[in-house]
Symmetry: C2
Subunit: 207 residues, 2 copies
Amino acid sequence: MPIRVDHAERRSALADAVWRIVRRDGVPAASVRGVAREAGLSMGSVRHFFATQDDLLDFAMREVIDRAGKRIEAGAAARSAIAAAGRGVDAAMALLEQSLPLDEERLTEARVWAAFTAQMLSHPGMAAIRREADEGLRTICHDSLAGLAELGDVHASRDLALETERLWALLDGLTFHLLLDPVRTSADVVRTALRIHLGDLQGPAPG
Amino acid sequence: MPIRVDHAERRSALADAVWRIVRRDGVPAASVRGVAREAGLSMGSVRHFFATQDDLLDFAMREVIDRAGKRIEAGAAARSAIAAAGRGVDAAMALLEQSLPLDEERLTEARVWAAFTAQMLSHPGMAAIRREADEGLRTICHDSLAGLAELGDVHASRDLALETERLWALLDGLTFHLLLDPVRTSADVVRTALRIHLGDLQGPAPG
């Protein structure tokens, strides 16, 4: 008599195993073999869900997008209240910080993200999900700036498309530095840099 | 009778092979096997110089640092003249642009750099050379800002250490976006974003 397996439950258990490994041992340890060992399953049953490490990373990357989306959604009401009180920069900071690896959970996510990007640079076929995620971050940057502009917290002479590129690049650079050297590039440094960046936009565009 | 091999010459030929492959087929193709094939040598003779792909990447990374250093040195006199003429931002732009992948040669370098960073995230033992390179870029950011401050082109209220972090993150983020999607993040967009960034520093620090 074949054993019935609840697929959703098993997939969720494998997901937990992937993230435990990434957090504890880093992304390279999250191989199909490593995940099977962590979850106490055979290679074959893991392969049923994730045939290759690329599949694992793809799954983990979708989780990053999903988790960030949920965090952003969860804070929406609080941010609206802050913005309604005329504190536009605070509201924008609260939104933008959700995309930065400023705590252990988001640092793990950023490690997965970086591993995925590295895979993508090697396998251009995997670019779709990375682009999807990029588009998400870019939209957050654009919407933050558009919101600030509406409140009069971005000077009317600023080119929003260009400022979106600049803010987006700054966020990706800060993420990268938090990942590479979180001692030097501390959460405090990152928050202050971001606040100054948004503050500068209240002045007229130079040139 | 053993054949005499000029080691420096062979190493230089292998270096050329590595870079040709990276430019044509991407970093993953620059394996020991790929380099041997490209250079028309046996695996064994390539292994004499580069035992593993990590060694190849290490070598290629040192080349990136070396080439960037030479470009920066080569433009020093021109930049001094521009700065002496009171065009501090132009001089800083000329320096900072040397670190950005704004042409085919530097795009290849950035691909090697990204591949190396990916390796490094997997093998923390390889972090030393990446840190060395980071330190170089950080120093360029700091020196550019210090130069601008001396010319009065960075407002006295600005925190140079913090602005160094912010400019450095911006440069790494722009590099990343040029690498991932050079159509959307064009060289023009990058140059304009950088110029606006430097222009903003002429105003007082917000807050």
